[in-house]
Every structure is written in structure tokens, then in C-alpha cells.
């Protein structure tokens, strides 16, 4: 089962921050592959959502970037800034809390149904 893009959109920042917190510096394609691999293909980040999010994170100062020149190509590596690390922890715990709450809500709904 592949999750809908609406579901992923709301959690994309959390996913990216968490990935960078776990793996250090990463580039765009690597991020999509890693997420795909870790979730057994169930979450596939789309380029149309990933890159805008990375740019927004960069502008907010949560990630820092490094450019690596490979002939005609330039690879942009992203890593967490100090404020990004704090935000990553916050986001992850917030989301975990959210999942627990959702479980509660859905369980109750199932019981009453």
C-alpha cells in the first residue's frame, strides 16, 4: 500500500528533518531512495513536494547546504543546522504524540461503530 500524497504532504518536513538527523548530510535523490528503502516502498517522496520543502527549510535556516561540483552537474547536500536539530526533535516527538492520539481516536471510533 502506498500512502496518499495528502497524508505525506503534512508530514514531509518531519520526514526530511528526521532523515537528515539520522544520516547527516544527504542530497535530494538520496533522500527519496532512503525513505523508499526504509519504508519498504510504502512512502515515496515525490520530487514536486520534496524540493520545494527543501528550499523552504533552507530559507527558514533549519538546514544548511553544501555544493559539490561533478563536471557539469552540481550536487546540493543538505544537513541540519543547530536550530534544525532542535526542530527535528520537536517535530518527531510532536508527530509521535499525534500518532498516539490518532490511535486513541480511531480505536474509539472502531469500538462505537
Amino acid at each position: 500500500m502506498i500512502f496518499s500524497s495528502e497524508l505525506i504532504k503534512g508530514t514531509l518536513k518531519t520526514i526530511v528533518l528526521k532523515m537528515l538527523a539520522d544520516n547527516g548530510r544527504m542530497y535530494g535523490y538520496e533522500l527519496t531512495q532512503k525513505v523508499k528503502e526504509q519504508t519498504a516502498d510504502r512512502i515515496q517522496l515525490t520530487e514536486g513536494a520534496l524540493y520545494p520543502t527543501l528550499h523552504a527549510l533552507e530559507q527558514e535556516g533549519l538546514v544548511t547546504t553544501q555544493l559539490e561540483y561533478m563536471g557539469k552537474r552540481v550536487r546540493k547536500y543538505y544537513s541540519l543546522s543547530p536550530s534544525g536539530q532542535t526542530r527535528a526533535t520537536e517535530k518527531v516527538s510532536e508527530f509521535a504524540e499525534f500518532v498516539n492520539t490518532m490511535k486513541l481516536l480511531l480505536d474509539t471510533d472502531l469500538k462505537t461503530a
Binding site: Y29, G48, Y51, P52, H55, R73
Partner: protein, 370 residues
């Protein structure tokens, strides 16, 4: 693993640009991403062109441009909130300054001017530009954006012109003319021809155009289209009026001391006038006794004689009969650093004569003066 040639990389980059990706950062990101996909998934002997075109659409739903749009949206959306916050604060701040400044002004308390200036500055240079930028984002066409920008510009000019007028700063008239000019000659035509084309905005546009025209017209009638009289000109007029008044104040008879003072005054005045003969408006001329008001020190000698005569007159007729302290006469004339002008000399002497006429007992005039 497939190896991409430089031509192929250029080809992909150009295709990305053609697809509507304008942000350079995003172009490089997508280029690297596509290259990674190709290197990973394409066999060494497979066809690059075929693979590229059948796989590039994996990146988007409808077209590549949506990635660019999404990025711009995400970036500006964040600014939008900051800007709105700053705008609201600037608005509240300027309103507060205006209200408190107005209360101070009504009560004639000190600081009213500063408060009102702060209010106008935060209103015109912070609130209005931000409002303008945010409004410009909401409209679609570039013509509408131009209308918003022009309206903002006029608002800023209008508030600055008001500020310059109330503070009596130079340049207020220029600002008024620019604001009326831009609104009547630029904003009005642009606005009118933008709105009149669409049936749904036609009525509103006509009404608003009349309103803009009305306000610009009213503002124009308030404007002084001729340059006002200069400070020097006003002072010359005032002196001439005093001199005329003095003629009708002359007492029927005069004491010997008064007659000698009058004589000295007449000589000093004719010398000052002769001195300014090359300059019919009696333009203010700075100078030192012995330099300007001279003719071989004659002027200074006359002034010294007048000084003594007035002093003696006051001794006889009471200390305050003629003004002395703080006037032109209350100076050490040997001090060459003393600055005066022909006009201030004329005014001072004429006023002295008026006091003299009063002191000499023309009671009819004294009643008028009182």
C-alpha cells in the same frame, strides 16, 4: 551503470529550463536528480532519449512548472505571514501616534509634532508599501499590479506632502504637485482603461475614476500655483507699512531732544537706503559696521550719536520712554563683529521713531496704539 555525456546533461538542463523551472537552485537540484535516476535505472546500451522522455513525467502530475510554483508558494507564504504581522504592527503604531499626537496638538503640549511625524513616517514608509506589496500579490495581471503600485506611490506622496506642509519643511509644494500629477495624469488613465474593458468591473471603475478625479481636482485647487512672497519681501512690506504709519503719527510739536533724534534717524535711514540702492528689494545683507553701513565710518558715527541721544532722552523722560535694551542701539558699536542688515537697521530706526512720536505726546495716536 549508464554514463551521461556532457551533451546529454546540457540537454536535460535545457529541457528543465524550457519546462518552466526558473530558480537556478531548483534547476541544479532537478538536474542532479534526473541524472541519478538515469544512471541508476538505464542500462549501458539503452537509448537515452527514449528513456528520458518516457520517465521525466514521473517528476510531476501535469507539467514541470508546478514544482517551481510550489517552491515559490512555499517561500512567499512564509514571508506573507511575517509581512502581514509587520504591516499590522505598523498600522497600529501609526494610528496610536496619530491619536496621541492629535491630543497633544489640541492641548498645545510639547511633542505633538514629533508624534505626528512618527505616525506619518510609519504609515507612509512601512504600512503603505507593505499593504501595496500584499495587494499586488492578490491581483492577477501586471496591469492590475501597476495600478496597485501607483496607488501606493500616491498614498506615500500624499502623506509625505502633508507631513512637509505641517512641519513647514521646504519641498512640500513639489510633493503635492507630484502626488496630484501622478494620480490625475498616470493612475487615472491606467486605472480607467484597465477596468472599463471588463463588463463586470465597468460600473465600479467609472465611479472610482470620478472619485479619483474629484479628489485630485480638490487637491489641485488647494495648491498654491504661484510662488509665495519671500521672507525678505514680506519684511520690506512690513517696514514700508510702518514707515507710512509713522508719517501719520508725527506730533504737532517736538522738543529739541526729540528733534535731534528725528534728525539722526532720518540721516541713518537715508544712508541705509542709499547703501541698498543697487538692490531695490533691500535684500538682507550681512555686514559689519564700517564695512557695509559705512561711507568712511559715517554710519557708525551716526549710530553712536543716536545711541547717546536716546540714552540722554531716557534720562530726562524716564527709563522706558524709548526702547533701548535689546535693540539695535544696545550694542557696543566699536565691536566690529556685530552683525546687522540694512533692512533690520531701517526697521529698528523707524520703530524707534514711532516710540518717540508716542512719547512726544500725540495722544490721538497713543490711543490707537494702545
Amino acid at each position: 551503470m549508464y554514463r551521461l555525456s556532457e551533451e546529454q546533461i546540457d540537454y536535460i538542463l535545457n529541457d528543465i529550463r524550457r519546462g518552466g523551472i526558473e530558480t537556478e537552485d531548483l534547476q541544479l537540484n532537478l538536474l542532479d536528480h534526473i541524472c541519478c535516476i538515469i544512471e541508476r535505472e538505464l542500462g549501458e546500451n539503452d537509448d537515452f532519449g527514449h528513456f528520458y522522455h518516457s520517465n521525466v513525467h514521473r517528476l510531476y502530475k501535469n507539467n514541470l512548472r508546478e514544482i517551481e510554483e510550489e517552491t515559490v508558494n512555499l517561500l512567499t507564504f512564509k514571508n506573507y505571514y511575517t509581512m502581514r504581522k509587520v504591516m499590522i504592527r505598523a498600522g497600529v503604531l501609526s494610528a496610536t501616534f496619530f491619536i496621541i499626537g492629535s491630543i497633544f496638538k489640541l492641548q498645545h503640549w510639547p511633542g505633538a509634532g514629533v508624534l505626528i511625524v512618527l505616525g506619518i513616517v510609519s504609515f507612509s514608509l512601512l504600512f503603505l508599501p507593505l499593504l501595496c506589496i500584499m495587494k499586488a500579490r492578490e491581483v492577477r495581471t501586471s496591469r492590475d499590479r501597476m495600478v496597485v503600485a501607483l496607488a501606493g506611490l500616491i498614498g506615500i506622496l500624499f502623506s509625505l506632502a502633508t507631513m512637509f506642509t505641517v512641519m513647514h519643511w521646504p519641498g512640500a509644494n513639489v510633493l503635492w504637485f507630484s502626488s496630484v500629477g501622478v494620480s490625475g495624469l498616470v493612475l487615472l488613465p491606467v486605472y480607467f482603461f484597465t477596468g472599463i474593458r471588463h463588463p463586470e468591473t465597468r460600473l465600479n471603475t467609472s465611479l472610482m475614476s470620478v472619485l479619483i478625479l474629484g479628489i485630485s481636482g480638490l487637491q489641485f485647487t488647494l495648491l498654491n500655483t504661484r510662488p509665495g512672497p519671500s521672507q525678505g519681501h514680506v519684511r520690506v512690506q512690513a517696514w514700508i507699512a510702518e514707515e507710512t504709519l509713522l508719517q501719520s503719527m508725527q506730533p504737532d510739536s517736538m522738543s529739541v531732544a526729540a528733534a535731534s533724534i528725528t534728525n539722526l534717524c532720518t540721516q541713518i535711514k537715508s544712508m541705509a537706503l542709499a547703501n541698498a540702492a543697487d538692490n531695490p528689494t533691500l535684500k538682507l545683507r550681512e555686514g559689519r559696521p564700517g564695512d557695509e553701513f559705512t561711507q568712511a565710518g559715517q554710519g557708525v558715527k551716526l549710530l553712536a550719536a543716536l545711541q547717546k541721544a536716546v540714552y540722554d532722552y531716557n534720562k530726562v523722560h524716564g527709563h522706558a520712554a524709548l526702547p533701548y535694551d535689546g535693540t539695535l542701539l544696545d550694542n557696543d558699536l566699536s565691536q566690529t563683529g556685530y552683525q546687522y542688515t540694512n533692512l533690520s537697521l531701517l526697521t529698528a530706526v523707524t520703530q524707534l521713531q514711532m516710540y518717540l512720536a508716542n512719547a512726544e505726546g500725540n495722544h490721538r495716536i497713543a490711543a490707537v496704539i494702545k
